[in-house]
């Protein structure tokens, strides 16, 4: 029998589709199906919000009349949906790799700063989901060589646009915030603009690469 994800009614008008316990060697392939499922559900116009997270999707219905229908329909949709129906955008994030902690990260791994830059910028990252702050993307794909424990003492202010590493993750801070990740670079790319029609540059399901900038575009130092 094919394992099926768990589906829970959270409230009269919200459902949790949970595929996180599925024993898959490739978590990214499950995440791709989650994005495809979210994209399909969005096209029905029956949901006010669809929130992909780590191998799960929370569905917020506009009306509680349809909750039972979706509880029943979701398992077969999951089986039928083709990952290939979902295609995200690819973003190039121009980055000045002169972060406050880049030398620390290099020393920690016995690498040179240039090697850290090479490894970090030669990876294609997948945007798993957004959370924490508007526009903050949870990225998949940081090379194990760069996994670095968080700072002992978090900074009270990590500047907007910081490119940072925290344990097995890397990410970009969309706004000034306290944070404990190691800052390896900065980008001027605006990730979140509340006044724009499309407020977030990056969406779940997109991919991105960091492009090293040399001696230009830096506004931080």
């Amino acid at each position: 029998m094919k394992p099926t994800p768990h589906i829970y009614a959270l409230t009269n008008s919200s459902l949790l589709f949970d595929a996180s316990y599925l024993d898959a060697t490739d978590r990214l392939s499950i995440q791709r199906k989650i994005w495809a499922l979210a994209s399909h559900c969005k096209s029905t116009d029956e949901f006010s919000d669809l929130v992909p997270a780590m191998n799960s999707l929370t569905l917020y219905l506009k009306s509680d009349k349809h909750a039972n229908k979706w509880l029943q329909v979701l398992p077969s949709l999951w089986n039928d949906i083709k990952t290939s129906t979902f295609k995200g955008q690819h973003h190039l994030i121009e980055t000045t790799y002169k972060g406050e902690d880049i030398d620390y990260v290099a020393r920690y791994h016995n690498l040179s700063a240039d090697e850290v830059i090479n490894i970090h910028s030669n990876t294609k990252y997948h945007v798993l989901f957004l959370g924490f702050q508007p526009g903050f993307a949870y990225l998949h794909g940081l090379e194990e060589q760069l996994h670095t424990p968080r700072r002992d003492e978090p900074r009270t202010r990590v500047p907007k646009g910081s490119v940072a590493i925290g344990a097995a993750q890397t990410g970009i801070y969309p706004a000034d915030t306290p944070g404990g990740w190691h800052i390896i670079g900065h980008t001027d790319t605006a990730l979140f603009d509340s006044t724009s029609e499309q407020p977030c540059l990056i969406q779940p399901g997109d991919t991105l690469e960091f492009v090293p900038l040399v001696n230009k575009g830096a506004t931080h130092d």
């Binding site: 768990h6 829970y8 009614a9 959270l10 409230t11 009269n12 008008s13 919200s14 949790l16 949970d18 996180s20 979210a38 006010s48 919000d49 669809l50 929130v51 992909p52 997270a53 780590m54 191998n55 799960s56 999707l57 929370t58 917020y60 509680d64 989901f129 957004l130 959370g131 924490f132 702050q133 508007p134 526009g135 903050f136 949870y138 706004a175 979140f192 509340s194 006044t195 407020p199 977030c200 969406q203 779940p204």
Partner: protein
């Protein structure tokens, strides 16, 4: 215009908040007590979603620079208009240069002030609400401070002088079941529903933290999942957090359940040291509770129509 002479503890502009942006990490924001917002707006024949002022604790002072009509709802924070008492649930005419002052209340935490026509700040991402964490909406994305000018439209016309009751307060909060019941186990969940919690002073618009003496400590770790206002997170230290409107959109703590829609607004009024208890109910009971509240609002609308 309304000029802020004293901002008090936390004064913000709110409406129903934002929908459709949760996948981008954007919180709902919006009035913690949407029923108080609706009732105050209906008393003025406003739209339900017209922006109002959410006043936390009180101790603020507002000066009107035009004539208008106002309605207060939510907690009684001992408001006075040029020294004359103003009561929640009633409409009052306000003249240019009059000052509305709030002391503080003996029960409840938040009052809602609606003005005729609603507050006229600019909408951001479909709402006039202030997002205090992401710093947008309202006025510059922040709580109001002394000297701020809140845009409103003058009103000199007629209005109905009527009162409206608030839905009853509850301390026994009804919940939808936990999606993590198997993970957390029956003993922990039955311990949870037989515990009387105290509201922590470490609570805010993001969430209400609950203190208690029994042990709900655990060591489970989950992949992040979508959370929303009403989700009750249980961090490993065993102190539950009821997420409110400014809460984050995803989180990794196990959930004890979700507060039913009809009861969530009660958390707008809980003060530190207030007691809260929980009870799991069926989806049918939750739907009935919602119908009862909707019925209350419907009756109010009928009564107002008959008074016109």
């Amino acid at each position: 215009m309304i000029k802020v002479l004293k901002s008090g503890v936390l004064l913000t502009i709110q409406d129903f908040g934002r929908e459709g942006y949760r996948h981008l990490g954007v919180s709902k924001a919006g009035s913690l007590d949407p029923f108080a917002q609706i009732i105050a707006n209906r008393l003025l024949n406003n739209n339900d979603n017209d922006a109002v002022l959410e006043i936390t604790v009180g101790l603020c002072e507002l000066e009107f620079s035009c004539d208008t009509v106002i309605a207060l709802h939510g907690s009684d924070l001992q408001a006075t208009l040029d020294g004359q008492a103003i009561y929640p649930g009633w409409t009052f005419a306000v003249k240019n240069k009059q000052v509305l002052s709030f002391a503080t209340g003996r029960a409840g935490l938040r009052a809602y002030l609606a003005v005729k026509g609603g507050i006229q700040n600019t909408e951001v991402m479909g709402s006039k609400s202030t997002d205090l964490n992401a710093c947008f909406g309202g006025i510059e994305g922040r709580a109001l401070t002394t000297g701020d000018e809140i845009p409103i439209t003058p009103y000199y016309g007629e209005f109905i002088k009527v009162g409206a009751m608030a839905p009853a307060q509850r301390k026994l909060i009804r919940l939808h079941p936990s999606p993590h019941a198997n993970l957390l186990g029956e003993p922990l969940l039955s311990n949870f529903v037989s515990t009387a919690f105290k509201v922590s002073s470490n609570s805010n618009r993001m969430g209400v933290r609950l203190e208690h003496k029994s042990s709900l400590v655990h060591s489970h770790c989950l992949p992040s999942l979508g959370v929303s206002p009403g989700s009750i997170q249980l961090p490993p230290n065993g102190e539950p957090i009821v997420l409110l409107n400014d809460g984050q959109t995803t989180g990794g703590y196990p959930l004890l359940g979700t507060v039913i829609e009809a009861d969530l607004h009660q958390f707008a009024q809980f003060r530190p040291l207030d007691t809260v208890e929980f009870k799991y109910v069926t989806f049918e009971e939750a739907a009935k509770a919602k119908q009862k509240l909707d019925g209350h609002l419907h009756q109010l609308s009928l009564a107002l129509k008959n008074n016109l």
